[in-house]
Amino acid sequence: MHEGHEEKKKAMPWTKVCIDKNEFEAGLGREGLRGISYREAIREAQRQMMEKDERVFILGEGVDDPGGIFGTTSGLGERFGQERVMDVAIAENGITGVAIGAAMAGMKPVFVHMRMDFLPMCMDQIFNHAAKWYYMTGGAVNVPIVIRSIIGRGWGSAAQHSQALHALFTHIPGLKVAIPSTPYDAKGLLIGALEDGNPVMFVEHRWVYDYVGYVPEEIYKIPLGKGVIRKPGRDITIVAISQMVYEAMKAAKVLAAEGIDVEVIDPRSLKPLDEELIFESVKKTGHLLIADVACKTGGVGAEIACRVCESVLEYLKAPVARVNFPDVPTPCSPVLEEAFYPSSTDIINSIKRVINHGRSKESTSQHYYACAQ
C-alpha cells in the first residue's frame, strides 16, 4: 500500500506526472519502476478485480469490441467470457437500472460509456435511484456500482461527444465522483471505487489514455476524497482537474523560470473533495486558480472557490480565478476548437493576473475585465 506515503510533500513516483513514455523512461523508468499507460492501468485494475472478486462484472455498449473502449477493456472478454464482460444494447437508462438492481442484489457492476455525453440518458436511474437508495432505505440497501465515462476532445467531436459533466454529479447527495489524471491514480481510484460500496462516477479523459506513469503491478487502492500535491510551490495554488493537471504542470514549469512558484493540486476526487488539502495550500500561497476541463457556470471551480471563501478567506490576497471552457457548446471547426479549449498559456496568463492583482491600477482593471469575459 503506497497511499500513506502520499502525505509527504516531496514528489514520489506515484505523484509524478509524465506526459509520454519517453519522459517516463528518461526518469522513473531508469530507476527500474514499471511504467504503463492510463488505458492499461484501467484495464489492469478491472482484470485484477475480476480475478479477485467474482461479483465484479463489466457491461456497456461495445465492451467486447475489437476496440475495447479505447483499449480499456481489450482482452477482458476473452479472459472472462461474455457473461462478465457483457455487450449491451444502447439503452442507457434501462441498463443503468439493470446494473443498479444487480448491485442491490449483491453484484459489483462496472458500467462503461464511451462518452460522458451519454450519461444524460441515464439520469433517472443515477440521480433518482442509485444516489438515493442507501439513504431512502435507512441504510438497509447500498448500491456498489461504478459508472465509467470518458470525456472526449478534438477531431471535431463537437457538442455531443466531448462534454465534461462531472459537476452535475457532484450536486447529487449519495454519488461520489472520481476523476483521475495519471495512470497510478486511474488504477488505484478504480479499485477504490469498486471497493467503496457507493455509486461512483468514474470520469476519464481521452487525451490522457496514452500517458505513461509508474503503476505497481499489485492491487492497491486509493480511497475517494484524497487529493495529492503534484508540485509544491509558495506563490499560488492551482487546483487542476483531469487533463488540466498536465497543462498546470506545463504552466508551472514556464512560470518557475519567471520566478513564480506554483503549487499544483490534483483533487483526484470531486466528491468527496479533499478541501483540507486545498485550504492548507491556500493558507500558504494566498492565491488560488482552478483549472477545469468543463464549462464555467455552476462548475466545480465555483464550488471550490466558495469553500475557500467560506473557510480561509482571510488568507486570500487576490480574487480567485478560474480557467474553464467558455459557456458554449463544443464547436467542430478546428479553428473554433482551438479557441474553445484552454491551455497552459491561459493558465499562465490567469496566474499572472492573480499574482499581479492590486500591484497597479491597470492590471487590476485588466483582471476584472478578464473575469467579466
Partner: protein, 334 residues
C-alpha cells in the same frame, strides 16, 4: 383462458390467499381511519380493489425471491411477508420504521423478505428487478424477481429497455402489470393506441397474458407458470392484470367527487370486489364459512391494531440522523 381452468389448489393455500387479501384490505382501511388525524405525514397510495394480484403472485414466492414495487406498494410488501408494524412506523416517520423514517410510504424496504427497496419513479423498479434477476442468474441460484408496475409505466422507455434485455438474457423475472386504466388521472385511452398491454410481449419474444386482475385463483395459476418458467431458466413472462383502484391516485378519498373518474365506473368495479368475490367463492365451495371469515378478519384487525399502536409509540429519529446513511461506509479491512 386455459390456464385459469380447474385449479387444483391446496385448501391451505386457498385460505392463505384469502388471509393475504383481507390483510391488505384491512391495512389500507386502517390508514383511511387514522389519516384524518394528520399525524401520518406521508402521501399514501392505497391498493384497495387490487388485492388479488399481490396475493396471487406473492404466495408463490420464496423469501430469497425479490420484488420491486411502486408508489402503490403496501399490498405487495404485506403479501411478501413484511411486518405491518415496520410499514406503519415508517409511515409515521419513526426511527423504528423499515427505513428509519427516511423513506415513508413510497419506499419500503425489507431485505430479509426480498424487498430491496421501492422506487416511486414510474417504471423505475422494472429495470431494478431485471438487474436482480441478472444477479440471481450470475450467482447460479434459482431465485427470481418480480416487478409490479402500473399501466402508466408501460408508457416509459425503461419498460421497453427492460423487457428487451430480460428476454435477450432469458432472465428469471416476472413483469406484473397492474392495469387499473389510469396513470394518476389520465385514462389509458388518452395515452395508448390500444388497451392490450399483454400483446406487447410478442415484440420481445416472451409470453404475455392478459387476465382478470380481480380473479385471485386465475392469477395464482398464471403466476405459478410464470414462476416455473423463471426458475427453469426459460426467461421472463409478462402478465397484464386488469383491475381498478377504488381510491384516488393518492390519499384516502375517492376521486370521482373531484371529477377525476366517473362514479358509475367505480361502482361497477366495486361490484367486482376481489375480496368479496373470493370470499363468496370459498363459502360456495364449502372451504370456509362466513363465521370463519369474520374470525379471520378480527384476528387480522387485532394484529393491525397492535401494529398501529406500536408504530405510534415508536421514537422519532434523532436530528443527527438527517446526516446519516447518505453514504455506505465500508467496514471491510483492506
Amino acid at each position: 383462458m386455459p390456464v385459469c381452468a380447474e385449479p387444483e389448489i391446496p385448501v391451505s393455500i386457498q385460505i392463505e390467499l384469502l388471509r393475504l387479501m383481507l390483510l391488505m384490505r384491512r391495512f389500507e382501511e386502517k390508514i383511511i381511519e387514522v389519516y384524518p388525524a394528520q399525524d401520518m405525514k406521508t402521501p399514501v397510495h392505497l391498493y384497495i380493489g387490487e388485492e388479488a394480484i399481490a396475493a396471487g403472485v406473492c404466495v408463490h414466492l420464496r423469501r430469497d425471491d425479490v420484488i420491486f414495487s411502486t408508489h402503490r406498494s403496501h399490498g405487495h410488501c404485506l403479501a411478501k411477508g413484511m411486518s405491518p408494524q415496520a410499514l406503519l412506523a415508517e409511515f409515521y416517520g419513526r426511527v423504528t420504521g423499515c427505513c428509519k423514517g427516511k423513506g415513508g410510504s413510497m419506499h419500503p424496504v425489507d431485505p430479509d423478505n426480498g424487498i430491496l427497496g421501492t422506487s416511486a419513479i414510474v417504471g423505475g423498479g422494472i429495470a431494478l428487478a431485471v438487474g436482480a434477476a441478472l444477479a440471481a442468474k450470475m450467482k447460479k441460484t434459482d431465485s427470481l424477481a418480480v416487478t409490479f408496475f402500473g399501466d402508466g409505466a408501460t408508457d416509459e422507455g425503461i419498460f421497453h429497455e427492460s423487457l428487451n434485455f430480460a428476454s435477450l438474457k432469458k432472465l428469471p423475472v416476472i413483469f406484473v402489470c397492474e392495469n387499473n386504466f389510469y396513470a394518476t388521472n389520465s385514462p389509458q385511452r388518452a395515452r395508448q393506441p390500444h388497451d392490450n398491454i399483454a400483446k406487447r410481449a410478442a415484440g420481445y419474444a416472451i409470453p404475455g397474458f392478459q387476465i382478470d386482475g380481480n380473479d385471485v385463483l386465475g392469477i395464482y395459476n398464471l403466476a405459478k407458470i410464470a414462476c416455473r418458467r423463471a426458475r427453469y431458466g426459460l426467461g421472463p413472462t409478462l402478465v397484464e392484470c386488469r383491475t381498478y383502484r377504488w381510491k384516488g391516485h393518492v390519499g384516502p378519498d375517492c376521486d370521482y367527487e373531484k371529477g377525476c373518474r366517473p362514479k358509475d365506473e367505480l361502482e361497477d368495479w366495486m361490484e367486482k370486489c376481489p375480496v368479496k368475490a373470493y370470499s363468496e367463492y370459498l363459502i360456495a365451495n364449502d372451504l370456509v364459512d362466513a363465521a370463519e371469515i369474520k374470525k379471520l378478519t378480527s384476528l387480522i384487525d387485532r394484529e393491525l391494531d397492535e401494529a398501529l399502536k406500536s408504530a405510534q409509540a415508536g421514537a422519532y429519529p434523532e436530528l443527527a440522523d438527517l446526516y446519516r446513511d447518505v453514504y455506505y461506509e465500508s467496514t471491510a479491512v483492506n
